[in-house]
Symmetry: C2
């Protein structure tokens, strides 16, 4: 039996567009003599829909779209994901189409991802379908994780997913499916979404394995793809080696590209400090949108060093990106003067630091409002974790391009960007990180060195390690407690930050949320 895997880039709510893609894959599959063509979970609706799933008009439109697709499925069977209303429940389902008819719906049983939680109900779950005497079990979404369930009377297990990318997931997913195929002695086929959807990037990487655990189908990462697998006559493939920095780079590219394309935006702007974070974001934006669609502002204050502007200018000129130098001194002085009576005769402190950062936001937002450039946020995960940033200042923007990368990962990405030619001036990569909001300030005045900070944060956040565990691994007791305390106390800033493009297993805002009132000493 031949099964076609259609790995497509859907858009949430774009039922017409999604339908067109699906029908053209159905036609291609029929031309290539496939018996069945398989699409991802939520193929018709796109994902994540959030409370759009509460909208009856939307659910009806999804089912109407399905009926239109079904009419195009003559001489081929199809499995297509969509949300459906089942009594008073809304479930994620696969529609099984045979000879142009919707034969049955198979509902998702396990509602465990934070994307489905609170929006979806649990359904009766996995069921078999039959095509040319081949018995196939269908698992929607995370149902595949309970894989002991799929050991019954069947030849093939099909897993329809909408699983976002994060560092390491491609290898992990491959190992999972291969082991599953071997353990159960079943053919396994997995089809995933590909494309960016706001803060999520779906990497695709759909695949197929024989009962012996042999990889016989492997679709592209980070782009649309299509293939027909034949479990009886498949040739074994080598699982391609994965480079994490390259995957991160591709994920950001696809995420950023689709964020703009699907929203109908074309132009972006950002503030360039001369530091590594904004340099990396600029490089990515210029690569994705074209330098002609990106605009940067350098906004020095009296605390900016000379190289800040010159390094930024060098980079912008190298890329051919339009820039303006807008000093904030005058505005800073006037705001200070206006607030003189209130601020009184106090010492320079975080108040004045934040004021500079917020004035820069005003300038950027003015450019955005007036000329339609979307502001890109340039904060990294290390900063967001410990609250080393200004709310409504540098923590503003439409989307956090590198908000799920630790500082040391930002450096790796910078070096990757420079792999063939210098795009980010060496000086930007080599200089000591500084917010430049007070005289001679360096990040290392307030924070441990990033190698240490990031290692503690990674253990605490991604690995879920306890304070004691991190200390036992050799980190300084006082420093670990201080870092964890900072993470706890800066939750309020993260709650109002732009959504970070997801690149890790625990991005802030969706997968790491602390209470806003929390007396527990973690």
């Amino acid at each position: 039996m031949k099964i076609a895997i259609a790995q497509l880039n859907y858009s949430v709510g774009d039922l017409e567009g999604n339908k067109t893609k699906i029908i053209s894959a159905v036609e291609r599959a029929r031309n290539e003599k496939a018996d069945l063509v398989v699409f991802a979970e939520y193929a018709i609706s796109g994902t994540q829909c959030f409370d759009l799933l509460q909208n009856a008009t939307f659910l009806e439109a999804c089912e109407e779209t399905l009926r239109e697709i079904a009419r195009a499925c003559h001489d081929i069977s199809a499995l297509i994901g969509l949300p459906i209303q089942d009594g008073n429940r809304i479930v994620s389902a696969a529609a099984f189409i045979q000879d142009g008819w919707i034969v049955k719906y198979i509902g998702k049983q396990r509602v465990s991802s934070r994307f489905d939680m609170g929006f979806l109900s649990v359904s009766a779950g996995a069921e078999n379908i039959e095509i040319k005497d081949n018995v196939i079990q269908v698992a929607i979404g995370e149902d595949i994780l309970d894989y002991a369930k799929f050991g019954g009377e069947c030849d093939t297990v099909i897993s329809m997913r909408s699983q976002p990318f994060y560092r390491g997931i491609i290898e992990k997913r491959h190992n999972f499916h291969r082991e599953m195929a071997t353990e159960l002695g079943k053919n396994v086929l997995m089809v995933n979404h590909v494309g960016g959807q706001a803060d999520c990037v779906y990497d695709g990487s759909s695949s197929a394995y024989t009962k012996e655990g042999e990889l016989i189908g492997m679709l592209s990462n980070f782009e649309e793809d299509f293939c027909v697998v034949d479990f009886d006559n498949g040739s074994p493939l080598q699982f391609p080696a994965q480079n994490r920095t390259y995957n991160t780079y591709r994920a950001i590219k696809l995420g950023l590209k689709d964020y703009f394309r699907k929203n109908g935006f074309t132009k972006a702007c950002l503030g360039m400090s001369g530091g590594i974070d904004s340099a990396v974001v600029l490089a990515m934006a210029a690569e994705v949108l074209g330098p002609e669609n990106v605009r940067v502002l350098m906004m020095p204050s009296q605390f900016s060093s000379d190289h800040s502007v010159s390094d930024a200018v060098n980079m912008a000129e190298g890329l051919g990106v339009k820039y303006n130098i807008v000093p904030i001194n005058a505005a800073y002085d006037v705001v200070n003067e206006s607030m003189k009576e209130i601020l009184g005769d106090t010492e320079f402190d975080v108040t004045e630091e934040n004021m500079q950062s917020r004035l820069r936001m005003i300038m950027l937002m003015a450019l955005s409002n007036k000329h339609g450039y979307i502001v890109l946020n340039t904060s990294n995960k290390s900063e967001a974790a410990v609250g080393y940033g200004t709310m409504y200042g540098d923590e503003s923007g439409a989307i956090g391009v590198i908000g799920d990368l630790y500082k040391i990962e930002v450096y790796s990405l910078a070096r990757f960007i420079n792999r063939d030619k210098i795009i980010i001036p060496e000086n930007i990569i080599l200089k000591a990180p500084s917010a430049e909001l007070r005289p001679g300030q360096q990040d290392s005045d307030s924070l441990p060195p990033y190698e240490v900070l990031d290692a503690i944060l990674y253990r605490f956040i991604e690995k879920g390690q306890e304070v004691e565990e991190i200390i036992n691994a050799g980190f300084d007791d006082h420093m670990v407690r201080r870092v964890v305390g900072l993470v706890k106390r800066s939750e309020y800033k993260r709650r109002q930050s732009p959504p970070p493009l997801r690149l890790s297993s625990r991005p802030f805002s969706t997968h790491f949320i602390l209470p806003l009132i929390n007396k527990f000493q973690m």
Copy 2:
């Protein structure tokens, strides 16, 4: 059998504090000869914990606290809620304590609230306990909603809740439990949290009903309370009439008070425009924190009318709240001048409007950073719904005090605040609403009258009605589509807004979330 209901105000993570409250209620219950004392779901931990539930140290500390409490439970039985680790699952459970021993845990079966979703696993669910030959079924959280399950062999059903307040819930909850008692023919007892926890307010309103559906126990709304009910000898009570505006008022008071108290904050500030929203927030803040702990800034621009400052000053002086008048003209001119090259010779538009609003945020945040005043957000739900506000401008602040009230509800609250004496000057209540960001601007230039806007929004958001349904109810086709379009397009602003204090069944940010990319015409 006599059962004590302890309705307490817990804090998330404050295990010591929660324990002290619990033990003193145990002692009081024993003194009053109760056989059993019942506490709410998550009594030991406080709620909502979010990813604090992933912290093993925290879960261990909760169980250690439970053991300490158990030792205080001699000569009385107790039911106490806490999160526990059950194998590799984290569940919400009730510990049943008898004679100082933890006899069993009863886990929560239904994980359906958006507070538990993604943080909690499903457990085996309801089980019976026995005290003096009385069989009691225990339901944790939303398990009580499947009440057909509680028709078995038992005398009494105990429902341990952590259900937040929203308009109408007190009456709804009372009716639910009364009907349940009557239908099942069982005694029913419900115990709830009371107190504010960040954006949630728990109203308490714990209650008890005989098998005949007679109300025999009714604890206070919005404050700690305690009572002992005797199902064999209870006297029927009248369910107290509820006033929705008064309840809203009390919910905001408690929410605001606990937000400050539990965070260790004492002082608040806000910007006063002379409009109704900031006036209501000021009145509430002065009432809760004391006028001496509240500070306001009036920040007129060239577009502010004279009455804006004078009305605001009148109100602040009437309350005895310290205020400063900080004109933003000079800062506005300098920012405009600095951006001249970039903004060019364009018409005055939303760019310049937002600039004023953002400069006010800078002033307020400077006051906050320098002197420790927490900025209160003054946006209402109508504005947030249609995006009639400035990101990083008036949409800033730590918490949205009236962010879950439609504009017409803000007026009702203003009149309630003035019930005994004029706190909010009549002029503020009577004037036409205006953002005053351009010459002669009024809200009605861009928006339908609030009576109409709010009615459409209420149907769309709270009632979940479809566009067609709203039009069929007599609203203008074009206007309904325009409003729904605005709701859809302003999701990006709401994602970065301060959490609104929850007062409705569908507050933004937790119960009404749209995709950031969404091509569907709702």
